[in-house]
Symmetry: C2
Subunit: 185 residues, 2 copies
């Protein structure tokens, strides 16, 4: 297969999520493509990486909590909007319907089918970014995306971002920790 | 919308990539769901988070390089396989056709449409995991997934992983940094 060297680009698609935090006493929300898993066990850890210029960082550090709200395709316009304007200039507390779990410092977005409350466990300080590593404290999923208490990813259409666009999650392509067993000798 | 508290789970889908490194003088490959972006600028930074029990970690630290190889759906079985067996017990250097860019310590997988060479810039030491933060040094994309030198994500079907399954990237859902402009006052 012929390859093209395209430059220094992290080509691909990553989760498009809306980070939530209390900032100066109000819920604030910020769209991020830099979210993912760190470790599933012994405690589930995730990260968000946020440029230091953002309004949200101080609120996360002050309160010790952030939320990850994962929109589906029907929320593209508002998702993009809260990534375009800063909480420094615009009150974003009324853009979505906000709800709370057991932590009153962790505002979540009702319109997003996945909501994850994270307790800040470590901050990695880089020149332009702060990586906030969070322990998952509690996770909420829309009831119509669940089979009983079990979330069904195929019922959710979580957004991804890459190449300047938002993308839907597509079809199931296989079973993890299973399909490769046929090759194990 | 009624919500269900599903536990402490990072529900969602993240990139399913195959990390590559030279380990004990041979290319080794390991499937990971914990890959993503840290910062696009001033230098593009990405991370992989790898359990300390893995064979790969020593090779990354010794050589100072790792690669991120992003399979598409036609490579599900081999992708799953290299996540099931350890390089400690199985020689994984012949599972794929290996190629190199300008760095001879950074083995890449020809069958993967996206290949990213990363220079280790920082290691974050957690109790069970090491987070390897890498600077993107050069990126290769299959020529048939490019428009000239520009990668076209819609031509690639990068795999994602979540809920015990692999998933395709789906349809384009919108334009980033654009669709929200209609809401800016």
């Amino acid at each position: 297969m012929e390859k093209v060297m395209v430059g220094k680009i992290a080509v691909g698609a990553t989760p498009a999520v809306i980070a939530g935090a209390m900032v100066n006493g109000k819920p604030n929300f910020l769209t991020l493509g830099n979210y993912g898993g760190i470790s599933p066990r012994p405690v589930p850890l995730v990260y968000i990486s946020v440029n230091k210029a953002h309004y949200t960082n101080a609120g996360i550090k002050e309160n010790g909590y952030f939320t990850v709200n994962w929109p589906s395709k029907d929320l593209v316009q508002k998702t993009d909007y809260v990534g375009l304007v800063s909480g420094r200039n615009v009150d974003k507390s009324k853009v979505f319907k906000v709800f709370y779990g057991s932590i009153d410092k962790a505002p979540m977005i009702e319109e997003c089918p996945i909501n994850i409350v994270c307790k800040l466990s470590q901050t990695v300080d880089l020149p332009t970014q702060e990586i906030f590593i969070g322990e998952v404290v509690e996770t909420f999923v829309n009831k119509d995306c669940c089979d009983g208490n079990r979330p069904v990813l195929g019922n959710i259409t979580p957004l991804l971002i890459g190449g300047g666009a938002y993308w839907e999650l597509g079809k199931k392509a296989g079973d993890a920790f299973k399909d490769g067993k046929a090759l194990v000798k």
